[in-house]
């Protein structure tokens, strides 16, 4: 048989009416709590908004530190060689390129010993490619965080760049060793090095931020990224010198549209002082990098509010 009537022993409980927002609440100056008078946070639908909330970003700087630390720590967990891999990767690549392009093909190297020449190019490149690859996938790989906790989403791709910089610093020691071995004399140009490192980090950040955001919506990025990086490798003067393009060619500055050209060339000059800095090339690289970063940040901000919904 089927059910029916129902009884309530307690008759004296009318259901409270649903309360919608009411505009008539009295705002009395209250005393006993230390809550701020203005809302700490206002949540409402955001129209297209292109500002970066730097204060918000800064208040999470410890999270940036921990995410970077996690990425570095996790990358070499349960490996025998550990952080040595950060050194071995560019070193092995250098040996292979030195053998094939330096010895067999005889690619010119601006008068620098080819192994040194290649390594000085591979160092910023290895940083760039790992940083872009990890930060491009960082948001998707941290989907569990994105859907469960609030923090400025930009922290995630930025932290991947930070982890890349630590690897970069480690492998820089090897470059130092090589330079001692080949008896390279330092010039004042070395002072420009920090600026170039900053530029390469900014470039990696721009590409990483853009691809990480697009990756959430279009997972094609995950598959396209390694290919893109491969093409970019050959388009940059890593295993060949930019001087293979005629120095006096009037459109030469166009090479700066690939910011890695200016960065890598600048790197070599800063380290070896074998020629003058190509300021036009470096400036073009810097401008391109900044434009890319600006575009990336705008795109990121535009897509950010949908991250948790579509990831």
């Amino acid at each position: 048989m089927h059910l029916t009537p129902t009884e309530r022993a307690d008759a004296s409980r009318p259901a409270a009416p649903a309360q919608l927002s009411d505009a008539t609440e009295a705002i009395t100056p209250q005393t006993n709590t230390n809550l701020s008078a203005k809302p700490l946070v206002v949540i409402e639908p955001r129209a297209a908004q292109f500002d970066i909330n730097l204060r918000d970003l800064w208040s999470y700087h410890e999270l940036f530190y921990f995410l970077t630390w996690r990425d570095v720590k996790v990358r070499y967990k349960q490996t025998l060689l550990g952080v040595l891999w950060a050194i071995l990767q560019p070193l092995m690549m250098m040996l292979i390129f030195a053998l094939f392009f330096g010895k067999l093909v005889g690619v010119p190297s601006d008068g620098i010993p080819y192994p040194l020449f290649a390594f000085a190019g591979l160092l910023p490149w290895t940083f760039f490619s790992t940083a872009v690859n990890t930060s491009g996938n960082s948001l998707v790989n941290n989907a569990n965080l994105i859907t469960k906790v609030y923090f400025p989403r930009l922290i995630v791709p930025i932290a991947s760049i930070g982890a890349g910089l630590i690897d970069f610093a480690i492998s820089f020691a090897v470059l130092g060793g090589l330079m001692v071995y080949y008896r390279v004399h330092l010039t004042w140009g070395i002072l420009l090095l920090p600026l170039l490192v900053l530029l390469q980090a900014t470039l990696a950040l721009g590409v990483g931020v853009l691809t990480s955001a697009l990756n959430i919506k279009y997972r094609d990025i995950r598959h396209a990224l390694p290919f893109l990086i491969q093409v970019w490798f050959f388009a940059s003067p890593i295993i060949y010198p930019a001087s293979m393009m005629p120095e006096r060619w009037r459109w030469r500055w166009l090479l700066g549209l690939n910011p890695m050209t200016g960065i890598i060339e600048g790197f070599r000059v800063a380290l070896f002082g074998h020629k003058e800095f190509d300021w036009v090339l470096i400036a073009t690289s810097a401008v391109t990098t900044l434009a890319l970063l600006a575009y990336a940040l705008v795109t990121f901000r535009r897509m950010e509010k949908g991250f948790a919904d579509i990831i």
Binding site: M1, H2, L3, T4, P5, T6, E7, R8, A9, D10, A11, R13, A15, A16, A18, Q19, L20, S21, D22, E25, I27, T28, Q30, T33, L35, P39, L40, V41, V42, I43, E44, P45, R46, E62, L63, Y65, F66, W69, R70, K73, V74, K77, Q78, N142, N144, L145, I146, T147, K148, V149, Y150, F151, K217, Y218, R219, D220, K305, A308, D309, I310
Partner: protein
């Protein structure tokens, strides 16, 4: 006192079936075509028919500092969406929320735990993710480890932890958050019974410290025990708010009829079979009025009308009474009835009455089946 959370008319719309593209962007269309050429082409042909779905609509409330609010509702009522909006994980489509305090949300235990890292490392990482400062975590570190009862394994990677150890550690970190507003989504049910009690105790002491707690749970006992007020969501709308006991009651009874009488005029629709069918069931109070509301003191009766179509031996009526947890309180058989028991029932309409004395049942809601 001024509210710590002020939400007005918040709504969240999801599009279903259709990708939420901003129309007309070449790059997006192109990327769409690359991703799924067939789907893209087909959609082109059909034209977009956007299906909008409001996970939340017109929800507004105010919460005072120090309140513990329980949010209840069925799956899909919008509870989690509300918490996600409050904790700024996703944006509302409309409406406005003002928060006058630091907020931390705990929508899952162990968010951001990394299996390769040790317990110690994960405490710091997880704490930072939940919004704690490093110094704060360091200060509470020993307390957290003791709470989780994993002292011996603190330097073991958590991938080697048992699942119980894992959730205990995760909850221990979260339990030591000290925000002004704490948002918790159904995460209390971790660990064994003893640990669950510890968690509940911790949560309610958080509430007693004057912090504001918003809690989503399907554990009605926990809601009644911990919360000072409850909100009931149904299909994205706030349908009731009030004392936890009252709101929990209406939630448990939502969708069930609260009728004193059910009758079937059309016999072909009535419950039963070819031998007999129910015609009606009703509840009468002591005075004989049909009513669904009675006091616990008064006696009442339950009448069952039924029709049998051919003579049968010993037709009997059974009434089963359930309390609001769905537990059977009693069932009544008609086999002690003297007038008809054991006799042949001729075809016709019969009425069986079950009389329930006063003071038998506690206060509460009950339902009857036959």
């Amino acid at each position: 006192m001024r509210p710590i959370i002020k939400a007005s008319a918040i709504g969240k719309e999801y599009r279903i079936g259709v990708r939420s593209t901003s129309q007309g962007s070449l790059r997006e269309a192109l990327a769409g075509a690359v991703r799924a050429p067939l789907r893209w082409a087909r959609r082109r042909g059909e034209g977009d028919s956007a299906g909008a779905f409001w996970a939340l609509k017109d929800v507004g409330f105010e919460i005072q500092p120090g309140e513990a609010i329980g949010i209840i509702g069925r799956n899909g009522a919008g509870k989690s969406t509300l918490l996600k909006i409050l904790s700024r994980i996703t944006e509302p489509t409309e409406g406005r929320i003002e928060l006058y305090g630091r907020i931390a949300s705990l929508l899952e235990v162990g968010t951001g735990f990394h299996p390769e890292l040790t317990g110690r490392e994960n405490i710091f990482l997880n704490g930072a993710i939940l919004g704690m400062k490093r110094a704060e975590i360091a200060r509470k570190f020993d307390e957290i480890v003791a709470f989780a009862e994993i002292e011996k394994f603190i330097d073991t990677p958590v991938k080697r932890y048992s699942s119980g150890m894992y959730v205990r550690l995760a909850f221990a970190v979260a339990a030591h958050l000290e925000p002004e507003i704490l948002i918790v989504d159904e995460v209390l049910a971790v660990g064994d019974v003893a640990f669950q009690k510890k968690c509940l105790g911790q949560m309610s002491s958080v509430a007693q410290q004057g912090r504001t707690v918003l809690l989503v749970s399907h554990n009605m006992a926990a809601i009644k025990w911990m919360c000072s007020r409850a909100l009931l969501l149904h299909q994205g709308r706030l349908v009731e708010e009030g004392s936890p006991a009252q709101v929990v009651n209406s939630y448990l009874w939502a969708g069930r009829n609260n009728r004193a009488e059910a009758s079937w005029d059309d016999l072909s629709d009535a419950p039963g079979n070819e031998v007999f069918r129910l015609r009606g069931v009703r509840v009468r109070n002591a005075a004989g009025d049909v009513t669904s509301e009675l006091t616990a003191q008064e006696s009442f009766s339950i009448e069952v009308d039924y029709q049998n179509f051919s003579p049968v031996v010993s037709l009997g009526a059974t009434v089963v009474l359930y309390n609001e947890e769905g537990v059977c309180v009693f069932s009544s058989l008609s086999n002690r009835e003297t007038q008809w028991h054991g006799r042949v029932f001729p075809a016709g309409v019969f009425r069986s009455t079950c009389r329930v004395p006063g003071h038998l049942l506690p206060e509460g809601r009950f339902s009857v089946t036959g």
